[in-house]
């Protein structure tokens, strides 16, 4: 494969994945509005298109057409840069996520992953940690008390919970012995649901910690203090309007999808079949290529539904409760999990 072919394939893959990701973000918003509606005993959006299915497109058009207001007192370069950082980081981490088995056509590189990186997990963590700047700079450059308070809360929360998040993944990495996401998934694929890290790997404590930390990392309820509207009006994006606000909004939902992808890859067996070989394997080449994609999407979708369910059910924490929970419960628990996993691996 020449370098030109490689570049062409990569551009193609990036374009397709970006479009799918953006559509996914748009329809996650609709999913949330629909599900929260049902939880609160109402219908959610129903007017635009059948079952309200065209609502995301209309919302997108609306945010494009709204007047873009830049307040007078802002620090312009950073005010303009912040939403780009936030959305950029939300879209980048999908690049190392493998979402299907190794399939290639006409001598292409593997189709269902943009880049197979040896330290894929660390790349995702690194991109997430850069994403904090989007929020921090937005709050600071807006020159608004509420924005600054929201940004401070948010960065403190992200930095605290990133620790628990990272530590909760160590157990999985210890079991797999690699940081490559593809190998981590392939090791869980032998016996269906029984060899998932969540069940067969006895990593449910890690999964619980990951779940809590992931809710906090994406600023979702019950940890959505950075945008607690009763205290902070809008939080870090108070001064943003039109498409810039929409970019923060999309970044939040993009991060939800990323977190769902990581949970699927590390704990739920990625694209592998949860039934293992119970029903046998199909010999049709198309089915063999597309079934993994189907399972991956189903797993991420269930994770997103869980997100929305929690949002519709639980009230918001108080800020000191949030910090106590992160530092005094989650982190020690994560360290205990690492110690227990290492002891088990050493004993075995």
């Amino acid at each position: 494969m020449t370098i030109l072919q490689f570049i062409l394939w990569s551009v193609l893959k990036v374009a397709v994945v970006t479009v799918v990701m953006l559509l996914g973000i748009a329809y996650t918003v609709l999913l949330e509005r629909k599900l929260v509606g049902r939880i609160q005993n109402r219908w959610g959006p129903t007017r635009v298109g059948p079952f309200g299915l065209l609502q995301p497109l209309v919302d997108g058009a609306k945010s494009f057409l709204k007047e873009d207001i830049i307040p007078a007192g802002v620090y312009r370069p950073l005010y303009l840069l912040a939403p780009i950082i936030a959305l950029g980081c939300a879209l980048i981490s999908i690049a190392v996520v493998p979402f299907g088995a190794t399939v290639s056509v006409w001598g292409s590189p593997p189709l269902f992953q943009i880049a197979d990186v040896n330290v894929g997990l660390l790349v995702i963590l690194g991109v997430t940690s850069i994403g904090v700047y989007g929020i921090a700079l937005a709050g600071w450059s807006s020159n608004n008390k509420y924005s600054l308070l929201g940004a401070l809360r948010s960065s403190a929360q992200l930095v605290s919970y990133e620790l628990a998040l990272g530590l909760s993944l160590v157990g999985v990495v210890l079991r797999a012995g690699t940081l490559n996401l593809r190998s981590i998934v392939e090791q869980q694929g032998t016996n269906g649901i029984l060899s998932w890290n969540l069940f067969g790997g006895f990593q449910f404590v890690a999964f619980f910690i990951y779940l809590m930390a992931a809710f906090a990392e994406t600023n979702r309820s019950p940890f959505d203090l950075p945008e607690a509207e009763s205290e902070l009006t809008g939080g870090y994006h108070t001064e943003y309007s039109s498409m810039k606000f929409a970019m923060f909004f999309m970044a939040e939902y993009g991060n939800m999808i990323n977190v769902g992808c990581v949970a699927t890859l590390l704990f739920l067996g990625g694209w592998t079949n949860p039934f293992g070989n119970v029903f046998g394997t199909s010999h049709n080449i198309l089915v063999q290529a597309l079934m993994p994609l189907f399972w991956f999407v189903i797993k991420v979708f269930s994770f997103l539904c869980l997100y929305v369910w929690v949002r519709g059910t639980l009230p918001r924490f108080r800020y000191d409760q949030l910090m106590n929970f992160g530092w005094r419960w989650l982190m020690p628990l994560a360290i205990l999990n690492i110690v227990a996993t290492s002891l088990w691996l050493a004993y075995r």
């Binding site: 660390l122 963590l125 690194g126 940690s129 850069i130 700079l137 000191d320």
Partner: protein, 177 residues
């Protein structure tokens, strides 16, 4: 290919470093430092140290610099005034910096047993790195971690100390326990 990337990111790194010195606003300086850290990570990657590159981004660009920007935001530090510096700094400073850099460079270039890394070297796997770190270099590694632990304990002790003082003065606004 490696050379082109090296030139781009070394240039970016230097530009960031110079911008860091020239900017008058602390937050711009902090952001330039992030650019420097990130380009350094790419340079590590070009030398085949992928774990180091990822750790550089997570630890330095992601965690430490967030704390920097955090402090800048909290203190709300304003613009600095630009002065040309004292004459002594101009006459002694530049020769001194050159001399120190020259000494460091000679020492490093002549040191024995450091090993060589070239552009386009094969990627060192994390497994290899960790086996060296936890067998050959175990003692230095553990000493470093103890050092960091002491720093953490010191920070906690300082923070607790001020809290105890506040309590003894009977801070009425403290809620909770």
């Amino acid at each position: 290919m490696h050379l082109i990337l090296f030139i781009i990111f070394a240039g970016l790194c230097l530009a960031g470093a110079i911008n860091l010195l020239l900017q008058t606003h602390p937050i711009n300086s902090a952001l330039s430092l992030i650019v420097v850290m990130t380009s350094l990570a790419v340079l590590y990657l070009l030398l085949g140290a992928e774990f180091l590159a990822a750790a550089q981004i997570i630890v330095y660009a992601g965690a430490i610099m967030v704390l920097f920007t955090f402090v800048v935001m909290l203190l709300n530090a304003g613009r600095e005034e630009r002065t040309m510096g004292s004459r002594a700094a101009w006459t002694i400073g530049f020769p001194a910096v050159t001399a120190i850099l020259a000494v460091i460079a000679t020492v490093i270039l002549h040191a024995q047993g450091l090993g060589v890394a070239r552009l386009g070297d094969g990627i060192t796997s994390t497994e290899e790195l960790s086996s060296v770190l936890f067998t050959k270099l175990l003692l230095p590694f553990e000493v470093t971690s103890v050092l960091i632990l002491i720093a953490i304990l010191g920070a906690v002790a300082l923070a607790r100390h001020s809290e105890v003082n506040e309590d003894s003065h009977g801070d009425a606004e403290r809620t909770g326990k």
